[in-house]
């Protein structure tokens, strides 16, 4: 089985190489076969690997494969070497399986695009890089994947590069995540200085002996890693790039900016859990950041009108839940939420893509409406996704994962009532904006004509994802309901169990409150958006400024513009011609001027020369007499 590992990223890589080198000459069906086929093969290998992993767990809990020694300098020895343990298995399953569905969908979605090959080349490269990120057995290889997915994200956000705003969005995404990446890199330097290795297993083994809990170094290291994760996972205050990233094609938003890449930060923190456990301060910060992000982004989602931006803010908010879970030490709950979220959020984006296509690239939800009858399959699948997003009890996957996070945000040893309340408020808001989205898009009056029915090939991935959005949660039940904990049993081979508080009220109590809150959110949405269009609070003038504030994402962009962008542009603009050059030009001009002055003395007038000579003699004699 060990030998299979390399094939998983290798197939998408081969797809990328073929498509990028010869893509322009190939006919579209061939491009589609290569583009989607390679990822499907990777998914099949992953499933084979997964089955074997579950049946006969490998010795030491992980498959390993050493490909080659990357570089070895002094004490620093880095291999290109892959590793699949229980945690990685979850991630590669999602990446290849959801990735394959999205690729199949894309072969139809992108059919009319002129740059068909470039799209699939970038997507394949993305899958390869993302797989390397989660399969890397050392942090440098992880960083390679980390930057690789950033590159692909950049390429795909700017896929339609003729439009300047798309390029700006791509640049913004790359730069803001780069800030996080640089922090991560500095974290690696610090780790290497302290431990002398960058191998993940090595670090996790040595760390408890080397660092005392809460010492300055470990706090610094974990904070740097956390900033890296915040950049990629769009957590506050580095979240501003993700809504703009929706400039890319919808499948890209589904795969990269919802299901996989943006959860890289969650993966990183979960992967390095041994370090974070040594630094309770950082854990608390992670939890607070998650809780704040989920509220801030959730509120922004409430005010958006662009269907993809609503989903983007909801992604930020859901990843906020994952961070919250990581922060309180509910490791497996965080990964479980990643697992279910990947299905339902990919589904929502793909379904949104279908809607947008069918309505002549209309993004504004208030220009949609009445799609329930006209696109029944899309409606049903979207409903499954929205139900999962708002965590409808028992009938959606989102309930099982989010309920666990809500429970642990109070009951875990790191948890407390404030985190719980924030998470609860987030659940209310999520239910509210999900209901709003559903009602506005699928109920009410039709406002834009539907111009064509979506292709069958796009519907099938939707149905598969909808199926998982409903059922994926059934593998992990709350303890009080049923003793079925397949998922946490699996990931807890790698991740530690959550440490709980000593005296706790009944879990039923929390579940009831969560269900009530979700219900209240849905009910409020229903009262506000169902029925006539005239009585919506959007139109109330008193709230205009609040709406505007939320719509702009709490003005973070404006703030950064003011603090960073403008001063930077000003600084570079005034020094465009390099102030140091002035110094040298000054020297040159000074010499020239001196030369002009002295050349006055050499004017060919004999009389002046004689005067000069006499004056000199006089001067010397005077000097002689005086001394």
């Amino acid at each position: 089985m060990n030998q299979l590992l390399a094939y998983i990223p290798a197939f998408p890589l081969i797809g990328f190489l073929i498509l990028s080198l010869f893509g322009r000459k190939l006919p579209k069906p061939v491009i589609a076969t290569i583009g989607a086929g390679t990822v499907c093969i990777a998914a099949i290998i992953t499933i084979v690997l997964g089955v074997s992993f579950l049946q006969t767990p490998p010795a030491g809990g992980a498959f390993h494969q050493l490909l080659w020694s990357w570089f070895k300098v002094g004490k620093l020895s880095i291999d290109i070497s892959l590793q699949v343990d229980a945690l990685t298995l979850v991630f590669i399953f999602i990446i290849t399986f959801v990735g394959a569905l999205i690729h199949i969908y894309s072969t139809f979605f992108m059919w009319h695009d002129g740059d068909y090959a470039r799209f699939f080349a970038s997507m394949n490269l993305f899958v390869c890089a993302m797989l390397l990120l989660v399969m890397a057995d050392n942090l440098v290889l992880l960083y390679l994947g980390w930057e690789g997915v950033g590159l692909c994200s950049y390429l795909l956000i700017g896929f339609w590069y003729e439009v300047p705003s798309n390029c700006r969005a791509a640049n913004k995404a790359f730069l803001i995540t780069r800030i996080g990446d640089t922090a991560l890199l500095i974290g690696l330097f610090l780790l290497f200085r302290e431990l002398g290795t960058l191998n993940i297993q090595g670090i996790l083994q040595q760390a408890p002996a080397h660092f005392t809990t809460g010492s300055a170094n470990i706090v610094l290291i974990t904070i740097l890693l956390m900033i890296g994760g915040m950049g990629k996972s769009a957590q506050m205050p580095l979240q501003t790039w993700l809504p703009d990233a929706m400039a890319g094609p919808s499948p890209v938003s589904a795969l990269i900016h919802a299901a996989t890449m943006v959860t890289a930060g969650v993966y990183l923190i979960a992967r390095m859990h041994g370090l974070f456990q040594l630094s309770p301060v950082t854990m608390t910060i992670v939890a607070i950041i998650g809780a704040c992000t989920l509220l801030v982004a959730g509120c922004s989602a409430l005010a958006q009108t662009d269907i993809k931006r609503i989903l983007a803010y909801s992604t930020i908010s859901q990843i906020g839940y994952m961070f919250l879970a990581l922060g309180v030490g509910a490791w497996s709950a965080a990964i479980f939420h990643f697992f279910t979220h990947a299905f339902f959020k990919a589904l929502l984006f793909l379904a949104a893509g279908v809607v947008i296509e069918a309505l002549h690239h209309e993004h504004n939800i208030f220009m949609m409406g009445g799609l329930r009858k006209r696109m029944p399959i899309v409606f049903v699948t979207f409903l499954a996704g929205a139900a999962a997003l708002s965590a409808l009890p028992l009938v959606s996957a989102g309930f099982f994962s989010k309920d666990a996070i809500l429970w642990y945000s109070w009951s875990a040893a790191n948890g407390n009532v404030f985190l719980w309340l924030m998470a609860l408020a987030g659940a209310f808001i999520t239910a509210l904006y999900s209901t709003r989205l559903m009602l506005v898009v699928f109920w009410g009056e039709p406002k834009t004509p539907v111009h064509e029915a979506p292709a069958q090939g796009m519907i099938i991935p939707l149905i598969v994802l909808a199926f998982f959005s409903v059922t994926a949660g059934f593998i992990e039940w709350p303890h009080n309901m049923m003793h079925l904990t397949l998922f946490s049993d699996h990931v807890q081979k790698v991740l530690p169990e959550t440490i709980m508080k000593a005296y706790l009220p009944s879990e039923w109590f929390f579940q009831a409150i969560a269900a009530l809150v979700t219900g209240a959110g849905i009910y409020l949405g229903y009262t506000m958006y169902y029925g006539k269009a005239g009585v919506r609070w959007q139109q109330s003038p008193g709230l205009a400024s609040t709406r505007e504030f939320l719509f702009s994402g709490w003005k973070f962009d404006q703030l950064y513009n003011f603090i960073f962008v403008k001063p930077f542009l000003f600084l570079t603009r005034i020094n465009k011609s390099d102030v140091i050059d002035r110094m040298y030009n000054g020297i040159a001009q000074g010499s020239l001027r001196l030369s002009n002055w002295f050349s006055v003395s050499q004017n060919g007038s004999l009389r002046l020369y004689i005067v000069g000579v006499l004056a000199g003699i006089l001067f010397i004699i005077t000097l002689q007499l005086l001394l």
């Binding site: 990357w70 570089f71 002094g74 690789g148 003729e162 990446d181 890199l185 290497f192």
Partner: protein, 497 residues
Amino acid sequence: MILVLMIGILLLGGIACWLVAQRSAMAARYVALIAVIMAFVIPLGWFIQNKPAITGANKWLVQYQANWIPAFGISFHLAMDGLSFLLIQLTFLLGVLAVLCSWNEIRERSGFYFFNLLWTLAGIAGVFVAMDLFLFYFFWEVMLVPMYFLIAIWGDFNRRYAAYKFFIFTQTGGLLMLLAILALYFIHGQQTGNYTFDYFALLNTTLGGATGRWIMLGFLIAFVIKLPMVPLHNWLPDAHSEAPTAGSLILAGLLLKTGAYGILRFVLPLFPQASAAIAWWAMLLGVVGIVYGALLAFAQTDLKRLIAYTSVSHMGFVLLGAFAFNEIALQGVVMQLLTHGVSTGALFVMAGMLKERLHTRDINQMGGLWTAMPQMGGLALVFVMASLGLPLLGNFIAEFLILMGSFPVNPVLTVIASVGLVLAALYSLRIAQKVFMGQLQVVSERPADLSAREWIIMACLTAAIICLGLYPQPVFDLVKGAFFVTGYQLPVAGVSN
């Protein structure tokens, strides 16, 4: 003997070009191409055939020594170790590409042009193998003067100004170096009674306090002007942007490397104590260069000037790493020399290709070229990414190792240098955005995509940068021999007096 051969071929080939060009310009091109390819193949073929083992006892792959002016202790002493070998190979690889770049660009006096090109290459190659300080100085000048002509005759609009500036800056440095060499010569002579310019003899000179520091500064200033270090970098943007494409390629790819090579070969081993004493300042200036160069690069609208300032930024890493005095950082420095040569060279070549098509260097007049030239757009992206240090490409390995090695020595400066990575993303993406993305500007005719000749150039560079990124170990193994055997004493970090 191969060392003499490869330099001799270039010198003779240059003269042959000049003579042949009287009859046919085409013939001159072929003579130049063949001469450089031979120079490239000779050391490479020799290396592959002999597979010289680098052991602790013998780090020198090959040596050649002959008397030149014995009365003054000057000998014609050439030697090549792993470091020299790599830089020589880089020199001739870029040399071949430089000839190919000039194929259609140079239409006037092409014989004299190729003469200058080949002589510059010969000078650079000589600098990398000369083990006699007088000879070193000689080659240092040989590479300078023909370069001056390349800029002054075949350059762009503002070429005279750029050429003068280049000449005055480097010549000032050269003068200081000559003084330092002479001082070293006399001090060593007085100490041992043996007046010689031989590198290996001079390595044993004991230099105390102030004298050592002044002599070291003489060398160092000459080298950091070439490198270049802020604030001595001002010749570079002008020279790079005004030079013809091949000139920019050689300037960025090779000439800057001679400065770094000088630091590694002469400053650190000859003056370990004096180097350790100024290490902090050198690292600081390196970091200043990284940040300052990046800020300036971001502001430029002239494509070649922009790329020129990125060199200032990237070479800051060299200074930072060289004065961290540990294996990881130094290996990173050597890697940076190779990868920067390839990646920045490629960007300059690309700028040249764009200029041939669009007749402008102003990025505000470009845009949307990906649509017109998808192949070039794709390749350009590779080098833009190399420039911002994307893993998988060689530059990442180099900068990663430099930062990794410097971090324990000076965390604060290393962290500031790491900020340079964000700035690198800023200016690099700006190239991609302004030139290749956006709407295709209305031009009279759609620019053509890469020709076969241009494909060869870009394919070589792309292959090189990816190989260096994915399998850099051979480079490290070769260089390890140069640095970490007896005879090369690393200054000890933190020692100052």
